[in-house]
Symmetry: C2
Subunit: 414 residues, 2 copies
């Protein structure tokens, strides 16, 4: 008998029929002899509708009232799921964040979980009752309702699974698992059986919306096995676990593109120490995240070009900051380009396969796609290219690494 945390997202409980099917799935897991803790999100677009409602009242709602409002979405879901389980003859009880012992810091709309007091949940499990916990919400030590921000229900599920030492945390969603790339772009995209936390984190931060990075980081920290699967099928989905526990370690497990990018360059920066540091400090002060950075030296001129990418929405403010600094330090000028995208390959096995990056550059070059900037990490290679060719680039790279075919297990050399 295992203890399984099952988390169902908004699409999985989007209608009464789907919600009933969620109850059936939970009941089946229970009847297989497992202890189950259920975590649910708000039904379908309920949260968006509440946000829209608040927007009609005020555009500067206090975070406290936003949390008070949005937390009702999950409250509706837990009551209905618990009742649906009851209808199937399964003993279940809905649990608000505070009832499930989820204490957060005192920060509204994006609170971090501080502690989980599991006594009550453990008591229910011991009685054979399935707790149905509201995702996305918690309570501060002084009794204020908080929410956990984007991906909050995933975080709730993972944190509960860790606190309860669950054997596995299933994240049910509307896709069958994690793919080598977006199947809407590349039809041959393959569903991965396994992926490491690290790869999942890179994929998530690169825009794959399956799991929120925070929950993956948390699972990695606690060494908790996650399973991403569809609530609409019985497919086993994708297991997310530690890189050391992976059976197969392909050099590349996924290709993805971030279309929400803009490139900025400060040209002819005098070659003085600390100039780049000032630029990035100024950007950070304005809350602008910088992604890929490259610096190129012009031989003989004693100046260089500093280029970097930011989220497309930050292009305007980033350009202002660059221009102010360029004027101050006597740089030649600033170029802003809102027509770029970042295409990346991710793979925990890359470290054992020298030349993986070169294969990607070749694939892109062979298709006549110009690489404007490059950034690499141990398990990732990113290329900034013309946005118009991003989808083509994904397909080309996917084919180059034959990601549609599962590769043989690799023996780790380290």
């Amino acid at each position: 008998m295992s203890l399984i945390v099952q988390k169902f997202g908004g699409t999985s409980v989007g209608t009464v029929d789907r919600l009933k099917r969620v109850a059936q799935r939970v009941a089946r897991t229970r009847s297989e002899g497992h202890d189950v803790v259920v975590v649910v999100s708000a039904m379908g677009h309920a949260t968006d509708q509440l946000v829209e409602l608040m927007g009609q009242i005020t555009l500067k709602a206090p975070g406290r009232e936003v949390d008070m409002l949005l937390s009702t979405g999950e409250q509706v879901s837990i009551a209905l799921v618990a009742a649906a389980l009851g209808e199937l003859g399964v003993s279940a009880r809905s649990m608000l964040g505070f009832q499930a012992g989820i204490e957060t810091e005192k920060a509204h709309t994006r609170a971090a979980i501080r502690t989980i007091e599991t006594a009550r949940l453990r008591g229910l499990l011991a009685e054979g009752v399935i707790p149905v916990v509201a995702g996305f919400q918690g309570i501060t030590a002084d009794g204020e309702v908080t929410t956990l921000g984007r991906g909050g229900s995933d975080t709730t599920a993972v944190a509960l699974a860790a606190a309860l030492s669950a054997d596995i945390c299933d994240i049910y969603t509307d896709v069958e698992g994690v793919y080598t790339t977006d199947p809407r772009i590349v039809p041959e995209a393959r569903l991965l059986r396994e992926i490491s936390y690290e790869e999942m984190l890179e994929l998530a931060s690169l825009g794959a919306k399956v799991l929120h990075p925070r929950s993956v980081e948390y699972a990695r920290w606690k060494n908790l096995v996650l399973r991403v699967r569809s609530s609409f099928s019985d497919h086993p989905g994708t297991v997310v676990k530690g890189v050391d526990q992976l059976e197969i370690l392909n050099p590349v497990n996924g290709v993805t593109a971030d279309l929400n990018q803009a490139k900025l360059a400060v040209l002819g920066v005098p070659d003085q120490p600390g100039v780049a540091a000032r630029l990035f400090a100024n950007l950070a002060e304005r809350g602008i995240n910088v992604d890929v950075i490259s610096q190129s030296v012009h031989g003989g001129h004693l100046t260089n070009d500093v280029a970097f990418t930011v989220a497309f929405d930050d292009m305007g403010p980033a350009r202002e900051i660059c221009e102010a600094l360029a004027a101050e330090i006597g740089a030649m000028g600033v170029v802003a380009d809102g027509t770029v995208a970042k295409v990346s390959i991710v793979g925990a096995g890359m470290i054992n396969h020298p030349g993986t990056a070169a294969q990607m550059f070749e694939a892109l070059g062979g298709a006549g796609i110009n690489i404007q900037m490059i950034s690499t990490s141990e398990i990732k290679v990113s290329c900034v290219i013309d946005r118009a060719r991003a989808l083509e680039a994904i397909a080309v790279v996917h084919r180059r690494f034959a990601l549609d075919k599962e590769q043989q297990p690799v023996v780790l050399s380290r």
Copy 2:
């Protein structure tokens, strides 16, 4: 400076625009220098929609889950009203039942309030913050969300006003106050300036849906002045207070009809002690409320007829119980009549005006309306008549007592 509790019903917060107007009204009261505690219901038909949603899941939802679900309706309202007040520059904070210190007994869907710990609300008031409290909900000592049943938000408002020793409790609704009768039936119906708790209770139990009887009883117990008024106008509304504090004591303050009645009669009951008691005990066991009762003796036969009224929906089961008992005791038979209504006059001044009942009988008789049963209390006279003539009866009686005209203050003789 007074402390005023203002309660707004579902219609008053039924749309975003109405909800903003509620905030404006609260802000105005605040700007007049009063301390205000706001209590709100769920928006419009939100509660009905949630009930409907649960009905699609199961027809036997546990009370706990029903409360978990329904309490979200008020939670949405308080967040929006608090945010709307903020938008007007007024400091406000939404309060769930548990945050407002409302502890109830451990009974779901119809919990009674046990205590209100007012420290937090008093703290907010002392800081100049308006608490916006969720009506209809509370929490048990062990942290379970409960709801207070029908008219629950009125109960919340009245209980809070009493606990905070508020100067007045305003119940904002979609009518201008309490009328002498339903203005849709009798256009000359007059809005009452004042009415006693006792009269209000009789009117409420007779079907006037302005205030829930439980909240009126509570206000009477605590001697708390209520004011029923419209959230859509500035009309002062109707003040509900102790009979001793009333300025005007009309013999009759209202006429009302209960159309949801059925009459049953057990005929030829042997004149033995305890037979009627057994009948009513059997009815009570099945949860059937008996209203008007009359017993008539047949001279010389040593039998009598026992007649009574019940809610129309209870006619079937009541008939079964009567027939079982009639067979057992050898009564002549049972008659059930589902075509009756009860017309009543209510007036705290009746006690000082002998002959008020006779005037009502004359009025009905003069219109050719036959009186089938009569029941009286200190402040009420009810007549059971043919349902088809109920609305006509209301108009006739309203005219007979000239209820469209406000009468002069009466000096109490007691």
